[in-house]
């Protein structure tokens, strides 16, 4: 499958220019620092924006769209000057708000077509495009019903269709899978992946659901107390600080543990009984097999250890609480 590279609309010659580049963004709400000197550079692809409640995720998103006025900070979004060219930025961004928001009285298809018109699509073209996108989002015949009567899941799909209807190169999705049942959640994540991989769209995915981030994101930004605590690719984040192997064995493992320690390995035992052999990677695995053979231990599973996103998240949040 072809993987597209995002092209900045203003610098077509520099395909790897960042989607978002912010410096020193600060937002105060009556003295409370919702964003505290945030500096970020987000590359094309799918980026997960994580953080506990009140960490500043929604404020950052609203700031990017110019919905809240910042006290400090400059940058670029899609190569456009931020916050000076915020209207042009909104023209090229599709936003799925976290809040349950809808225009009362409209049917689903009218609501999507209306958003298309507000983004500048002519009337007929907006309606045609709305039909196409509601089909893509699997809204089906429900699109002819009033939006007030929609279930939470349907409203999520409708907001997704509205965010997408004007074919923006960059999507900001704030909790897109909230309220969806497991099937619909999978379908939503599939759509997000399709848009990024087959249509070259960049996506900023703000969520509390860590498995969603793990499933689709290339990069992760963790915000806590208004500051960026972690910002790296999923690949780098999942690598432990030292090469480590996770080993699960059958039966008694005291002799195996003893053998490993005699060979100079640092070994810890996890709560589920898995041994963590620190300081060795998959290249040096033959040594571990030898020790297992010598001590008569059967190895059930052996794999390089990876940092879990949950661990990274909790470490980042607790570090922000106890600096």
């Amino acid at each position: 499958m072809k993987r597209y590279t995002y092209l900045s609309p203003t610098c077509p010659e520099s395909p790897l220019s960042p989607i978002i580049s912010l410096t020193g963004v600060t937002k105060l709400y009556s003295g409370f620092r919702a964003l505290d000197d945030v500096s970020l550079e987000i590359q094309p692809g799918i980026t997960g924006l994580l953080g506990p409640n009140g960490s500043g995720k929604s404020t950052l998103i609203k700031s990017l769209l110019g919905l809240v006025r910042n006290h400090q900070g400059t940058g670029t979004v899609l190569g456009l000057q931020w916050p000076r060219e915020v209207r042009e930025i909104r023209d090229r961004v599709g936003y799925l708000p976290e809040d349950d928001c809808y225009i009362a009285g409209l049917t689903g298809i009218e609501a999507v077509a209306f958003m298309a018109n507000l983004s500048g699509l002519p009337k007929t073209e907006g309606m045609r495009r709305a039909h196409e996108i509601t089909d893509f989002c699997d809204i089906g015949e429900e699109k002819y019903r009033g939006v007030e009567a929609y279930s939470t899941g349907m409203r999520q799909k409708l907001k997704f269709a509205q965010a997408l209807v004007h074919d923006p190169p960059f999507l900001i999705l704030d909790e897109p899978t909230t309220g969806l049942d497991p099937d619909q959640r999978d379908a939503m994540l599939r759509r997000i992946r399709t848009l990024a991989q087959e249509h070259g769209k960049s996506i900023l995915l703000s969520t509390h659901i860590l498995p969603d981030v793990k499933a689709v994101c290339d990069q992760v930004v963790i915000l806590a107390r208004g500051k960026v605590r972690v910002h790296d690719s999923m690949e780098n984040l999942s690598k432990p600080a030292e090469p480590t192997l996770n080993v699960m064995t059958y039966g008694e493992k005291a002799a195996f543990l003893n053998g490993l320690e005699k060979a100079g390995y640092t070994v810890t035992t996890k709560t589920d009984g898995t041994l963590k052999i620190i300081g060795t990677d998959i290249e040096q695995v033959s040594n571990v097999w030898d020790i297992a053979a010598a001590t008569g231990t059967s190895i059930r599973r052996l794999a390089p250890a990876q940092n879990s996103l949950e661990e990274i998240f909790f470490q980042a949040v607790s570090a922000s609480e106890h600096p």
Binding site: L67, R87, C101, I103, M115, S119, I133, H166, D167, E198
Partner: protein, 320 residues
């Protein structure tokens, strides 16, 4: 599942200019409100009073040559319209008062049936516009698009302008056209050509401040019934206060002499009378230019304060 599942496709095409995007806000609002059957009924009823001034103009034009009609119009000017001065002139030279009689009849149409219709119509539709958006958080949808709060306000106001235009400007101009058609000769146009312009200006004076006041109330609360209540209360309480302040001193008790009251002084407490003062001036029936300025300033203040209030409410909501 669609018959032909196209999947996701890129969209390539020319986008509309940003300046016309508020029109889509207006169109969507008009479409939504147009679906209400009550409103259609109200719009039709609002056109009925046009018959009265149209008959008045017909009688006046016939009265230029026919004494029977002239007597009818003179009685009307002396009685319900409270213009004995015009009646006296009509008796001597009807053609010389043509402009004034037409203006008086059309102003009467604006002042009484249309102003009441306007209050009722806005009371029904305006609270739905912004308070609904605040309640359903639709403002997030609007402002995630390249739409500024000012453009949103213009779009929402245009919904009210459209419906008010349907019950004031359009019938006003139709009334003028009917007057011309009911006249025995087309030369009346030469003497009354400025009346359509005055109708347009009077419509603006009526529509713009009332819209600003209405959307201001609509933005006050997420409960549209409170906005409706505040709207009707403003008009009713204002008129009642004006009547009390101007009539109470006149009603001398026992043998106390009745006092002369300066009605202009209390005009500004009532939106109905403030608007009436400005409209009378626009139709050229109130020549006291200096006395109209306080009323004009009040209307301008309502426009500015109403618009700024809505703007600040929207920006405040977005910051939460």
């Amino acid at each position: 599942m669609p018959v032909h599942d196209l999947g996701y496709r890129k969209w390539v095409g020319k986008r509309n200019h940003q300046l016309i995007r508020p029109l889509y806000v207006a169109r969507s609002g008009i479409t939504l409100i147009w679906r209400r059957r009550m409103l259609k009924l109200l719009l039709m009823l609002a056109w009925l009073p046009i018959a009265i001034p149209a008959i008045g103009i017909f009688c006046f034009e016939q009265g230029v040559t026919d004494m029977t009609y002239r007597r009818v119009i003179i009685r009307t000017l002396q009685g319900p319209m409270e213009r004995p001065d015009l009646a006296a002139q009509m008796l001597q030279d009807p053609v010389s008062v043509r402009h004034e009689v037409w203006s008086t009849l059309i102003l009467g149409f604006f002042r009484v049936p249309q102003l009441y219709s306007m209050v009722l119509l806005i009371g029904l539709i305006a609270p739905l516009l912004i308070s609904y958006d605040l309640r359903s958080k639709a403002y997030l949808q609007y402002f995630s698009r390249p739409l500024s709060p000012n453009e949103y306000i213009v779009g929402k106001s245009a919904v009210i302008w459209f419906f008010l235009g349907m019950i004031t400007t359009l019938p006003g101009l139709t009334l003028y056209l009917l007057g011309v058609l009911l006249s025995p000769e087309i030369s009346v146009v030469g003497m009354t050509w400025d009346i359509p312009l005055r109708i347009l200006i009077a419509s603006v004076a009526l529509i713009v401040p009332t819209t600003a006041l209405a959307i201001g109330y609509s933005a006050c609360t997420v409960e549209n019934r409170y906005a409706s209540f505040a709207w009707f209360a403003t008009w009713i309480m204002g008129s009642v206060a004006y009547q009390v302040l101007t009539n109470a001193p006149r009603m001398g008790r026992g043998r106390r002499p009745r006092m002369d009251v300066d009605t202009e002084r209390w005009l500004l407490v009532s939106p109905y009378h403030t608007l009436g003062k400005v409209e009378t001036w626009i139709f050229g029936l109130d020549t006291g230019d200096s006395s109209v300025w306080p009323a004009v300033l009040i209307l301008l203040a309502v426009i500015v304060i109403g618009t700024l209030f809505v703007r600040s409410r929207l920006i405040g909501k977005l910051s939460v």
